[in-house]
């Protein structure tokens, strides 16, 4: 008897609570468009679509306190890892476009998420309002010092002569695979690829001599290069990188530079976007912020909203083409 009454009581409490939220939650979520930005007492959340501790996360955490000072409101970092950034980016796309939720949409890696139909992403280029690029990260080709490969040409001719294997992360049509496909298209070669699930496993495969080369960001290969376990043979960028002046820029026209980019959901008011963009520029000009970001292995580079937008369009076209080529085969 007593338990039945308890059950009823519990059900009533729940029903009341649900009813109460239904009444009150709606006005708060829509009443944000009129007031000026940033409104005191509100918090900004930066969605980081990868695990805590990675490059993007480190950059976000270096940026957040300074951005808070600049905007005069609290700035929180929210890690939403999973599905190669897709979980966090989906949440960003679905957030209210009021300037209080922004997030990292790293280019071009986030493009392959929606350009590949197999992944069933619910967002596209149009789902976001680019705000600014904060850092640039270049990609290099790395081999073992005793591999007999010392230039990109060596690698290409080795690939033309026989099987040449690369370790990749991200699987087929992931970041590494798409970069390799650009090299293949530019040179008419074909690489054999072995997919790994972490950067460490990829590195072990190369150091252990199981594969011939890898492509990766400078930050990921630098420790091994400095220890003399690896060497970089080619920079896959448009121009030289001051951090590694000795590594030649590739002469086959492949540009695999990545930008750490902040965006908001689509339809963000232009004045809000401009206000955040301006604060980011101010913050990135501070020497200690710049130093903190540079130490993560990428180069602090402010890229305006409009430049980010065109970089996005360019990557969008390039990656969609690579993916449709792969599908046609």
């Amino acid at each position: 008897m007593k338990t039945t009454r308890k059950l009823l009581g519990a059900a009533m409490v729940l029903a009341l609570a649900t009813g109460a939220t239904a009444c009150t939650s709606e006005p708060t979520s829509t009443a944000t468009t009129t007031s000026k930005y940033p409104e005191q007492g509100k918090d900004m959340t930066i969605i980081v679509p990868v695990d805590a501790g990675g490059t993007t996360d480190n950059v976000a955490r270096a940026l957040a306190p300074e951005l808070a000072k600049e905007l005069g409101i609290n700035v929180q970092v929210l890690n939403k890892p999973g599905a190669a950034q897709q979980i966090g980016i989906t949440q960003l796309a679905q957030s209210p476009a009021d300037g209080y939720t922004i997030g990292f949409t790293n280019l071009p890696s986030m493009i392959s998420g929606y350009a590949n139909p197999a992944r069933g992403a619910t967002y596209t280029r149009e789902s976001f309002t680019p705000i600014a690029g904060v850092a640039k990260s270049d990609t290099v080709v790395a081999v073992k010092p005793d591999s007999g490969i010392s230039t990109l040409d060596d690698l290409i001719s080795k690939a033309k002569a026989g099987t040449t294997t690369a370790a990749i992360t991200g699987g087929a049509l992931g970041d590494d695979d798409l970069i390799l496909r650009q090299i293949q298209n530019a040179t008419g070669t074909k690489f054999n690829t072995v997919p790994f699930d972490s950067g460490t496993d990829k590195m072990l495969a190369l150091l252990g001599g199981r594969v011939d080369f890898i492509v990766g960001s400078i930050a990921t290969v630098l420790p091994q290069v400095q220890n003399g376990q690896l060497k970089m043979v080619s920079l896959l960028a448009k121009e030289k990188n001051d951090a590694i002046p000795d590594v030649p820029v590739n002469d086959i026209g492949v540009n695999a530079s990545a930008n750490l980019t902040l965006s908001g959901p689509k339809g963000m008011p232009a004045d809000v976007t401009a206000a955040i963009e301006k604060s980011i520029k101010t913050v990135l000009d501070k020497p200690d912020v710049k130093a903190a970001i540079d130490k993560t292995g990428s180069q602090t580079t402010f890229i305006s909203a409009s430049d980010t937008s065109s970089f996005w369009e360019e990557g969008d076209g390039k990656i969609k083409e690579l993916i449709s080529q792969a599908g046609a085969k």
Binding site: D51, A52, G53, G54, D57, N58, R61, A62, L78, N79, K80, P81, G82, A83, A84, Q86, I87, T90, N116, A118, R119, G120, A121, T163, T165, G170, G171, A172, L173, G174, N192, T193, V194, P195, F196, D197, S198, T200, D201, M203, L204, A205, L207, G208, G209, R210, V211, A219, L222, P223, Q224, Q226, N227, G228, Q229, A292, K295, T296, G297
Partner: protein, 521 residues
């Protein structure tokens, strides 16, 4: 600098008030995050990373390392008291640790775990100091070698069986199934993801085992009439002489198993501690006590965890390669401070490298002296009326599962596996084999297909190096043996039953818990 000189200068750096305080704080924090189910050392150290900017490289790594090994002490507490594995590596501890707690032997279980952890860490550290050249070991393990290791891992399944071998195999098969959802490791196409991107990376192992062991235990306790409390006898805190004697062997072997497994790239913590558990069970003269509160079943896996936490740092220090989430964050702390982990570190910044190693010796001594008295505090939880414990632990687990990836999805995963675990327990399907094969399943398929991708399809790749060949042969023999063994055991058991006075002997000091015990309150 030779190791002895290095260590001496290291100790000189560490035994300053500032660095001691950092080690102490790191240990406390590590223990606390170890106790919180779900919220692990990786998340804690990631959040602390910006704070450590200010500490400089030595201070930063001292704190982060302390969090890592401190957490492996703390993870034991909920595993023993509540059957909730707070981290992947404490799943095996729940099997006998919780049974000991039910018998009022939570104190000895936790004390033994602390001692085992201490020995595991200290011996691991000595190995660290003398065996840094061994780090090249990790490079010997490519996909074909790892595939052989996972096959060997499968041979552990039968050791985790209860009364019925068939049900253990069913559990193992369900585990392989649980590891299926996700993106195909080679083609990248989604499999068994039901159109939800949350499943692209597969199910979170920690959420799954929190549900499978923790939630299912809560449900099985509350489903009969417990109103006022379970009034478990708290009993003595310190282990008896016989506990210590019985634990010595498992601690020694656990250290070796953990140390070796920590050197392997991508070696999953849960598999190593299960390996230790089954090794002890098979070596024991009293295998029947396992699963009913055998102290060896706590001592072995707990030592393994901690020894592995230490040797897992060797690839980072020696090769600059992080093999776990936490060591990845330590790598971040190095680079942010302008240091490069790897052989160069010992050449260019020996004072930093040796100070960190010395700090781990000191930290473990701190943890031992902290943990033994704290056991008294932890067992007080058992005095709480069970209904209160039930509500609060459920609340903690909801929060912990949420904090794994800041997502409600993992809360759902934990609950679903709680219900699955509850139902499977009702038909006596053991849950441990499932936990093991969830870990092995993914690794097995990946390494298998990576191997074939390396050789462009030729199966000779599995015998392409001497190590791969030897490992595969050992693995196949182990698998064969584990298949034959239960049949042999069954025969001897039938023989015993047929013989006059065929009761299975139960030692006087261990009483088998039946549901009558549990229903009495």
């Amino acid at each position: 600098m030779n190791p002895i000189d290095g260590l001496l200068t290291g100790f000189a750096t560490v035994l300053t008030p500032g660095n001691l305080l950092l080690a102490f704080l790191g240990c406390i924090l590590g223990m606390l995050v170890g106790i919180l189910p779900g919220f692990g050392p990786a998340a804690a150290s990631a959040i602390l990373l910006p704070v450590t900017f200010a500490l400089g490289p030595t201070g930063a790594i001292i704190v982060l390392a302390a969090i890592l090994y401190g957490a492996s002490y703390g993870g034991t507490v909920t595993a023993v008291l509540l059957n909730v594995p707070g981290e992947a590596s404490s799943v095996a501890t729940t099997l006998d640790g919780y049974q000991m707690a039910l018998k009022g032997r939570a104190g000895p279980a936790l004390s033994i775990a602390a001692m085992g952890s201490f020995v595991g860490c200290i011996v691991g550290l000595i190995g660290f100091v003398i065996a840094t050249p061994l780090s090249k070991f990790a490079l010997l393990f490519g996909p074909p070698e790892l595939f052989a290791v996972t096959i060997f891992g499968l041979s552990i399944v039968t050791g985790l069986a209860g009364k019925s071998l068939r049900k253990a195999l069913i559990s193992a098969a369900i585990g392989l199934m649980v590891a299926l959802p996700g993106l195909d490791p080679v083609s990248g196409a989604p499999r068994f993801t039901f159109q939800s991107p949350e499943l692209f990376d597969g199910l979170s192992f920690v959420a799954v085992v929190m549900g499978l062991f923790g939630i299912s235990e809560l449900l099985s306790t509350i489903d009969h009439n417990i109103k006022s409390g379970r009034a478990l006898p708290v009993g003595k805190i310190l282990p008896t002489a016989s506990d210590l004697k019985r634990s010595a062997g498992p601690i020694g072997r656990g250290t070796l198993i953990g140390f070796a497994m920590g050197l392997l790239p991508g070696s999953p913590g849960a598999a190593a501690s299960f390996l230790s558990y089954v090794t002890e069970k098979r070596l024991s003269k009293r295998p029947d006590e396992f699963g009913k509160g055998a102290v060896e079943g706590v001592a072995g896996p707990e030592t393994t965890n901690n020894s592995m936490a230490i040797s897992g740092m060797i690839p980072l220090f020696a090769l600059g390669l992080p093999t776990s989430a936490t060591t990845a964050i330590m790598l971040g702390a190095f680079t942010i401070n302008g240091l490069v982990p790897g052989p160069l570190l010992f050449d260019e910044h020996p004072e930093v490298a040796w100070a960190i190693i010395a700090s781990m010796f000191v930290g473990n001594v701190i943890l031992l002296f902290l943990n033994i008295p704290l056991v008294r505090v932890w067992v007080l939880f058992l005095r709480l009326p069970y209904p209160v414990l039930y509500g609060v632990v459920l609340g903690f687990m909801l929060l912990g599962a949420y904090s794994l990836e800041n997502s409600i999805f993992n809360v759902g995963v934990m609950l679903a596996f709680g219900v699955l675990g509850y139902l499977l327990r009702k038909i006596d399907v053991p849950l441990a084999p499932m936990a093991l094969t969830i870990v092995l399943g993914q690794l097995m398929e990946r390494s298998f297909r990576q191997s074939l991708a390396m050789s462009e399809g030729s199966p000779t790749v599995f015998f392409s190096t001497p190590l791969a060949t030897v490992l595969l042969i050992i693995a196949l023999l182990a698998l064969l043996y584990s298949g034959i063994r239960p049949a042999l055991a069954r025969r001897t058991r039938f023989a015993r039953i047929l013989a006059p006075k065929s009761e299975v002997p139960v030692p006087a000091n261990i009483s088998t818990p039946t549901s009558t015990d549990r229903n009495q309150k």
